[in-house]
Symmetry: C2
Subunit: 445 residues, 2 copies
């Protein structure tokens, strides 16, 4: 990795971004294929670097500073590397998100407006210490024509350096503009990035909620990120209780460490006595630690809940339970304590489901399905860039589309605004029509 200052790296990324924006779909795909091939060809080099990271991490594990889970996530193998190059090829296979015409409107005869999808530009990313994260983010950036600044976790420093060099070299041979990907390692460089609002168009931090908040609070660059996931399942009085039990179980137990797992189960009082004993038994068999409010504890024997539980993302086999007396009370609880991530109602009553889905301000609202479906792959978005708990630009699971913006192309024939203003103003047509923008649209007619 070169020792260029961060300002030079971001400058180079800006220059590359302009070229990337006009790079054909074919060449961007060829760049990705080159990355995948290079990873396949450099297993030894990558695994040797990774071994250094793992050794250092194991020392810290012995010292009690790291968890086994962290060490496991760090560790690469030949088969994991195959998965990674496979992932890169699947990103290459995704439909091109660029230069689609999103809208076409005829303002007047021979005055055609096209809204065209384009890359965002320079995207600064900071991500967790899984070495596959660097490859994934670089791949998504290239697919969508964005220049990327990559800052990975220091635990994966050796692996990331080698992976970055491989990516840089592979894309250079595939004629992707130099400088499209830049790696930074120092925490000071992250802070320097936060001030570069003239040259960085978007920041995408991944990591703890505290870290994402820190980024948001210290930059005027737009931030796409994910803070907390305090998700709810509401078992309505009109629920099919068998279905409710399956959903409540899946939403907590299938994979409790992720942001779309349920943290609070809300149960309508009409079904509390019928529903709670069965689900509590299943949870306890699966070692879920349960806490309940008073009404819950009248029906089942669980620990008392505290007010802090309601807005805690456990990320583990823990769950809080509350009995509510109405749909409104359930919605009120979610509005007060939720993080606007994902909520599900289980009910046979379509109108009640619609009230729940319309009335809650969460990125994903479900009717009779597990909250665990909130994920870019499951949503069919292809690769996932991340999940956004913000409401601006992209919300919920974010795919390649979230890495694009648009620009207006206007094709005219010498039209002047003066013609359409004042006393004898010519009226606009403003007709939507169906066409892709292509160079010289008007002259071809």
């Amino acid at each position: 990795m070169s020792e260029k200052p961060i300002e030079t790296k971001v400058d180079e990324a800006q220059t590359a971004a302009l070229e990337l924006a006009t790079l054909s779909d074919e060449r961007r795909r060829a760049g990705l294929e080159a990355i995948a091939d290079a990873i396949d060809e450099h297993h030894d080099e990558i695994l040797a670097a990774n071994e250094k990271d793992v050794t250092e991490a194991e020392k810290l594990l012995e010292a009690g500073e790291y968890s086994q889970a962290l060490v496991d996530r760090l560790k690469l193998s030949a088969s994991k590397l195959e998965d990674i190059s496979e992932m890169v090829r699947s990103v290459a296979a995704q439909e091109d998100p660029l230069e689609k015409t999103l809208e076409a409107r005829r303002l007047d005869e021979d005055l055609e407006l096209y809204k065209v999808a384009v890359p965002i530009g320079v995207v600064g990313t900071v991500f967790e210490s899984r070495p596959d994260a660097l490859v994934q983010i670089a791949a998504l950036g290239l697919r969508s024509g964005n220049a990327v600044i990559l800052k990975g976790g220091s635990e994966a420093a050796h692996s990331n350096r080698v992976l970055f060099e491989i990516i840089e070299e592979a894309t250079a041979t595939a004629d992707v503009p130099d400088g499209w990907a830049q790696q930074i390692e120092a925490r000071e460089d992250v802070d320097a990035m936060l001030a570069m609002d003239d040259s960085i168009d978007l920041l995408m931090p991944r990591g703890s909620s505290a870290f994402v908040s820190y980024i948001q609070d210290n930059t005027s660059i737009p931030v796409l990120g994910h803070t907390e996931g305090v998700c709810h399942v509401f078992v309505d009085g009109e629920a099919n209780l068998e279905m409710a039990e399956e959903i409540a179980f899946d939403a907590k137990v299938q994979y409790p460490a992720v942001c779309n797992a349920v943290e609070t189960l809300l149960v309508h009082e009409d079904v509390a006595t019928d529903f709670l004993p069965g689900i509590v038994e299943r949870y306890e068999d699966a070692d879920v630690e349960l806490r309940g409010d008073e009404a819950t504890r009248e029906v089942v024997d669980v620990d008392p809940v505290t007010d802090d539980d309601w807005n805690t993302e456990y990320g583990d086999l823990e769950l809080s339970i509350k009995v509510v007396d109405s749909l409104s009370a359930a919605m009120g609880h979610i509005t007060e304590y939720g993080s606007k991530h994902t909520e599900s109602i289980v009910t046979e009553d379509a109108d009640r489901a619609a009230r729940f889905m319309r009335g809650l301000d969460s990125a994903s609202v479900y009717h009779n399905a597990s909250t665990r479906f909130a994920d870019g792959y499951r949503y069919g978005l292809g690769a996932e860039v991340g999940i956004s708990t913000g409401k601006i630009h992209a919300r919920g699971p974010v795919g390649l589309e979230g890495l694009t913006t648009y620009k207006y192309h206007l094709e005219g024939d010498g039209q002047l605004v003066a013609t359409y203003a004042g006393e004898d103003a010519k009226p606009y047509l403003h007709e939507e029509f169906d066409a892709e923008w292509t160079p010289g649209r008007l002259s071809e007619k």
Copy 2:
């Protein structure tokens, strides 16, 4: 205007926002009709309040602190009030931007995902001292189901207070949720808003570029705004010079005070001798103050340009001219000095036009048309919320759509993620299909 603290106002707006999100198109339109009628019925009251603002402004005009233009903009009349209520009715007539299904995807049999347009929530706005601005922003907010915090210029304080009361009363009688619109007047309240990232979803400041930058630098709330408009017209070597002259003239002279007027004219050296004398004569006849680089001054007699001119938004009858030796040089200049607002190339060569349009990172890029078309009304977006020079969420002229976001509705039949994971994972269908989300979609089958 009530003397509630800003925190109370924002709380009320948040509560109202949840109700507004489920308010039918019909009731939102009825609210707007009620506003328009109320304005029609209260001319005397509004004009009396406006008279106070104008009197105060005239005193400051005499003292040399205000400009005549500012006083003119402040002043209302019966006919201006008719225009304002007409504008509100036209916002009501706009197509509903809400609850449209933007995408529908079948994840599996009876597991349907809908991406549905919804309001953003609570939008904080700060705007210039034209009294019609308050009504316009409130109207756009209500049409798109957003609660709005309104902060107008202090010069229009009396007018704004009366207009706000009329709006508040009219929408209350039309059953729009109380508290959907909130007025603030103190500068301290604006600063307080900047810190309320838990309750305000978007800030839309209008005003000077310095003011918008101040807002961006002092909040972690997303900001949609417009900083500078340094727009360019490039007369290519392959231009129809007659057309080029008309466009260059219109882009500067038709209305020089606005952000989409051209500030720098770039001329290819191949046509400089043929093109410059004619356009310079027309500009001079229209009292445009001209500055040129050396090559320009070899052809026409204009003042020398300074480096500062290239990134100055004159907003007046002033223009800088540069002769360039290539399309790339023109693009390089725009990339270096432009503000990514609007640029136009005049050329008969479609490929050169395409290079210009693809290669520049501006919100609007034109071929053979005046930069002055960059405007929400001309683009056919209906009413314009503002123009964004950012690239995230909404870019260029922003219509009602820019005041919406989306949310995912998932309709299931008890589906669990466990079914689609692990060894015997059921594959997803991921079929796009054509349907609007309606309550109880699945149960109706």
